[in-house]
């Protein structure tokens, strides 16, 4: 089973680097392909379509460490903005409409508190990184992949 882990965020922007930090720790995991990206960009849809399962790992402002299912059904709503950012849902929808495949997808959100320029993660994010990695590994153990 091919699992794609996408670490989203900027490692130079404090806790925004949480996603890449988690993804980095999964690079040597068998069956896992890791990509890291400042933000989600359209061509990632092809990588997503080639996977059986996708885990997006992203920083969040506040809240708790959460793992949730993501579907491509709601992806039509983040269009025509002034920014270059796409949502995970949109990438899944692109995968579906361009390549006819949508893998099972999850979003792991790691709550951050300090997004100022810098390569250091805050202490709270540091503590959460192993938990986030464990959460992704639990997803890898679950045989939940399907392709629509």
């Amino acid at each position: 089973m091919r699992t794609l882990v996408i670490g989203i965020g900027n490692p130079l922007a404090g806790d925004d680097g949480a996603g890449p930090a988690v993804a980095e720790r999964l690079e040597d995991t068998p069956g896992v392909i890791v990509r890291m990206s400042h933000q989600l960009i359209p061509e990632l849809a092809e990588d997503v379509a080639a996977a059986d399962r996708v885990v997006f790992v992203d920083a969040a402002r506040g809240g708790r460490l959460t793992v949730s299912r993501v579907s491509g059904a709601a992806g039509a709503h983040d269009a025509s903005s002034l920014t270059h950012v796409l949502a995970a849902e949109t990438i899944l929808a692109l995968s579906h409409r361009l390549y006819g495949r949508v893998p099972t997808a999850y979003l792991v959100r790691v709550p951050g508190s300090d997004f100022r320029p810098g390569t250091n993660l805050s202490a709270s994010v540091h503590r959460l990184i192993p938990k986030a990695v464990a959460a992704v590994k639990r997803l890898l153990l679950a045989n939940t992949a399907y392709v629509r």
């Binding site: 130079l12 903005s81 796409l86 929808a93 320029p117």
Partner: protein
């Protein structure tokens, strides 16, 4: 009664921006402002780092045009070393730089602007997006992704798969290209060029549908600035800076861009954290200028490749020798994609692209260095000062989106005045205001050095400062 309208769109990566429309008693737009409301000191963060690290560090400012920062930073490093890089290194840098131009412009056109251009500015927002484009024009959408993939393939071939390749270094590049890599990139080139040409042809057929937008989307006289070759042609990696006026007159030519402070000033406004660069001899705001694809085609006498030159001639026949409407940034971007691919083909065709001498080694020989390149969005300046050990003591980054700051404000004002008439602002009007900014393809992460999970907002305010309407577009 005064009224105010604010548009506030932002995302976690690209800073916090807001548009405010101030209305007069009659409900007409008196003033419009594009604010950036958060600022973070990325330049300060760089102090204390070794200048050799700067290309890799500054490339992380932006997820969309990291290669531009790599180039400008490495060129500043070349200046600190006081070296001329080997010819093969320059060819490889140019190749990567043009690949990013293609990739970045493709993102702007296909994924950000094509929903407006193909589906209409008044199309329902739930379908006016890239997924809506796929529904109606699936092959075009695939083409956009393939173009981006070709640019990315070149970047990854040279720099590796990491998002911020450290392959471009002060003194050149860290390794040559292999013959096999060259062959692989050549194999993908014909399709990329064909896709770019087909897209440009399609866009030309669409232009008549958008005559009104072409008239009011930031259509005003200004100066234009950009690098040109010694012959005055289109240039992205090196060259001298040329500034022309709205009538096409050359205001300044052959400026040494590495001494930018002698002719460029940076004004500030209390309502924006973005700086407002201007051409110093004319003062602020008269000396404000535009950069980016539109400006580059205005300052250049020619492109220097056959297909792009033919397209440039046709573009000028339609829009004029100096094009003032910011709507035509879209056309200019597509012509630059064609140009970029033609140049990529020329570079790859040259067997010398695989030469092995790609790096000049030296110790620090200067305490100050400036690197300048044309990023997809316009001229990018990196200015470093270092101590004897090569540790950065001061950084100044002059970013394309900042240089277009005043122009974006004027574009917002022009569009708002044209469409806002005292009635509630509709989604279609809001979208046109955004689209006027989108034409510049601003990258707020560079300009503001900011990150943060923020929405996008527009506010309408009356003459007494009372908020009449808020339109919010949550990006995530």
């Amino acid at each position: 009664m005064t009224r105010r309208i604010v548009i506030d769109p932002v995302t976690r990566i690209e800073g916090h921006a807001k548009i405010t429309l101030h209305l007069d008693d009659a409900g007409a737009v008196r003033e419009a402002r594009f604010h950036v409301t958060e600022f973070r000191g990325f330049e300060k963060f760089c102090e204390g780092r070794l200048f050799h690290e700067m290309p890799a560090i500054t490339a992380r400012v932006c997820g969309i045009c990291p290669v531009s920062h790599l180039m400008a930073s490495a060129k500043a490093g070349d200046a600190l070393l006081a070296v001329t890089i080997p010819p093969a290194a320059e060819r490889l840098r140019r190749l990567m730089h043009l690949a990013q131009l293609v990739q970045s412009h493709a993102l702007s056109f296909f994924h950000m602007s094509s929903p407006d251009l193909l589906l209409g500015y008044d199309a329902p927002p739930e379908s006016r997006n890239i997924l809506g484009v796929i529904e109606r024009y699936p092959e075009l959408a695939r083409s956009g992704i393939r173009l981006r993939q070709y640019g990315q393939e070149i970047i990854e071939t040279l720099g590796g798969k990491r998002i911020h390749p450290a392959w471009v270094v002060p003194g050149g590049v860290s390794g040559p290209m292999s013959p096999e890599q060259r062959e692989r990139l050549l194999a993908g080139w014909p399709e990329a060029l064909q896709t770019a040409r087909a897209t440009l042809e399609m866009f030309k057929r669409l232009l008549d549908r958008h005559r009104e937008e072409a008239q009011v989307f930031g259509n005003f006289p200004s100066l234009f600035a950009g690098l040109v070759t010694p012959e005055g042609g289109l240039e992205h990696y090196d060259g001298r800076l040329r500034i022309v006026d709205a009538g096409g007159g050359v205001v300044a030519d052959a400026l040494d861009a590495t001494r930018y402070w002698e002719f460029l000033g940076e004004a500030t406004e209390p309502w924006s954290y973005l700086k407002f660069p201007y051409y110093r001899p004319l003062g602020y705001p008269v000396g404000s200028y535009r950069v980016g694809p539109l400006a580059r085609l205005n300052v250049a006498s020619h492109c220097g490749t056959p297909i792009a030159d033919a397209e440039l001639a046709e573009y000028r026949q339609r829009a004029g020798r100096v094009v003032l409407s910011s709507f035509y940034y879209h056309s200019a971007r597509l012509i630059e994609i064609v140009f970029g691919l033609e140049r990529i083909g020329q570079l790859l065709d040259n067997p010398a692209i695989v030469d092995h001498d790609v790096r000049a080694h030296a110790a620090r020989n200067r305490h100050e260095g400036v690197g300048v390149a044309e990023a997809p969005r316009g001229t990018l300046f990196h200015h470093y000062q270092v101590n004897d050990e090569g540790v950065i003591t001061r950084v100044n980054l002059l970013i394309a989106t900042g240089q277009n700051n005043l122009a974006m404000n004027r574009a917002v004002e022009q569009v708002a005045r044209h469409y806002v008439d005292g009635h509630p602002v509709t989604e279609g009007i809001l979208n046109r205001i955004e689209a006027a900014i989108r034409a510049y393809d601003p990258c707020l992460s560079c300009s503001t050095h900011a990150v943060g999970a923020m929405p996008l907002v527009v506010e309408v305010v009356d003459p007494a400062g009372c908020l009449l309407q808020t339109l919010r577009r949550d990006a995530r």
